[in-house]
């Protein structure tokens, strides 16, 4: 499951990338809504947000793009969005607009379960997914509570830290996810740090989905300087490599 930043380097290219990822057979795509102060993100995604915001990528423009593209795709799009943006729009308006724009749900990385009540209620009424996160630092009883309130899937954060490619993932990751699996019937997707076919092979048996962000965003970043079809081909090759590892 790829993560890409909306509007980096512009929304036309984002639409092209979405189509390409769909053609590769990605089961779902996370679309990052650029935010000025993303504290959970490493340098690669931060920089992509900064570029998108410098190009004045507004929420309304992003929704406009997905409204056009989403009906042509087999894979659902889920937004990754700061609560600062959701709140500013108004929770109900945000959910209604996103849904009308063909977006299936939201991951709100700065909305822990205690604060999620009002948004969870609206998402439920609107049949809009609100995907909650569990981190390696989450105590087990709390993880169960989070799993109960998540819809769509559960996002397991692989490492205590920010987004960005890692060469090695924590040794106890598979074990922790397996434990969580025994406590919830929701699909569990793992994200943060995943970038290599080796990671995919290692985690595929325990996860329902693997989220790859920085490694793709880093490739897309080159669309600023290089011919776009070459960047698109590079992203495609990379994603196909990971999907092959998933099957093997």
């Amino acid at each position: 499951m790829p993560f890409i930043t909306a509007g980096d380097p512009d929304l036309d290219f984002t639409a092209d990338v979405l189509k390409q990822l769909d053609a590769c057979g990605c089961p779902l795509c996370e679309l990052g809504i650029p935010y000025s102060d993303p504290i959970a993100d490493g340098p690669v995604i931060q920089a992509s947000y900064t570029r998108a915001l410098e190009r004045k990528t507004h929420l309304a423009d992003i929704f406009e793009m997905t409204r056009r593209i989403a009906p042509t795709l087999a894979m659902p799009i889920v937004s990754m969005v700061s609560y600062a943006i959701v709140f500013r729009r108004g929770i109900a308006s945000f959910v209604a607009e996103a849904r009308a724009a063909g977006i299936a749900g939201a991951i709100v990385p700065d909305l822990p379960v205690e604060e999620a009540g009002p948004m969870a209620q609206i998402c439920k009424q609107e049949d809009f997914g609100l995907i909650q996160l569990v981190a390696p630092t989450t105590p087990r009883e709390r993880a169960i509570r989070i799993a109960r309130s998540s819809t769509g899937f559960l996002y397991y954060v692989s490492v205590a830290g920010i987004t960005g490619e890692r060469t090695r993932l924590p040794a106890d990751l598979a074990e922790n996810v397996a434990w969580l699996r025994s406590r919830t019937s929701l699909p569990i997707c793992i994200g943060f740090g995943i970038s290599q076919p080796e990671h995919v092979r290692q985690l595929a048996p325990v996860a329902d989905g693997l989220i790859v962000g920085s490694a793709i965003v880093r490739r897309i970043a080159r669309a600023d300087q290089e011919p776009r079809d070459r960047v698109l081909a590079d992203v495609t090759d990379y994603v196909r490599g990971l999907l092959d590892a998933l099957k093997s």
Partner: protein
Amino acid sequence: MTESMIHAGMQTGQVPDAMGRFGPYGGRYVPETLVAALDQLETEYRSAVEDSLFRATLDELLRDFVGRPSPLYHAKRLSQHGGGAQIWLKREDLNHTGAHKINNTLGQALLTLRMGKSRVIAETGAGQHGVATATACAHFGLSCVVYMGEEDVRRQAPNVFNMKLMGAEVRPVTTGSRTLRDAINEAMRDWMSSVESTHYILGSVVGPHPFPMIVRDFQAVIGREARQQCLARLGRLPDAVVACVGGGSNAAGMFSAFIADGQVELVGVEAGGRSQQPGDHSASLSYGSPGVLHGSFSYVMQDEDGQTGQVHSLSAGLDYPGVGPEHSFWKDAGRVQYQPCSDAAALEAFDLVARSEGILSALETAHALAHAIQLAASRPKDQIILVCLSGRGDKDAAEIARLRQAAT
């Protein structure tokens, strides 16, 4: 001193509630990775304030290491200059390290030790919180990393040297506006990866719960002392209390003791910068709107999409697009008035206080002084205006000289 310096801080009211809410403001909008650490901090803090040994240790440090209580000083020549009300200064500039920030960092460093953590990180704008954190860490043998925007590293260079002399590592932050807001982002990101061994000593009443409560309580010693000093010296409470507001910690510490005294007027002074245009000031309570920044719901400078707005102040410590949630609560409740003060007015007040009193105030503090001078001039001689002199201006001397040069 018989009464503990920390305990009474816990009496400052019913807020925040269990969710860290001051009315609708506050809360905890952070990545899940940090929630366990915030829970741990809250639990540790609540047990610490009940622990008489913890309180005695902090009291002793505040007395012997910081030099508390800080004096209450009648600025007679400054008062005469305006010809109106009397101006009294609560001299937090005379604390060890030259500002109120040390009250908080010693308290949080003690909490760090209680939590069994050995590494501390902090953000700093003016560098005063960085210096106060480096000092507390040197005192306790904790390792210390301070994040500071590149622009602030430049304009507050003396504090950078001081931090390094005390063994802290200063990491310049080159993202965004390269100021306080970006330094907080970087510190939070560090904490995301280091949370199990590291405590983040946040320097103001901002950020996710429990920070706004803890920092206020550690700073409440300012107001508690000042209130007692007023009663002892003047036989009455002041008519107005004025403090500058960046994140809002010196103001929260000062105001908390007077909140229940309905007759005492409370004024928080924000950085009005160059103009009222967005991007030209950092007066989030005066010109901003409720939103989410750095884990808390409060007034913030933001655009229509909720992206944090650009801000400006010539003082690094006020150059911040957000403000502590309790100030938003006090503003909406009408209990505290918030006023902007321009860069130019702050510089003028800095000069006047330097020449009439022999006190170099921090540029942050100069905003409060400017408002107090104006207020005093419009009030009768028997009125008393209390100002939180939050810090001294040594750090600003070179920057003021540069600004003056540029202006001529």
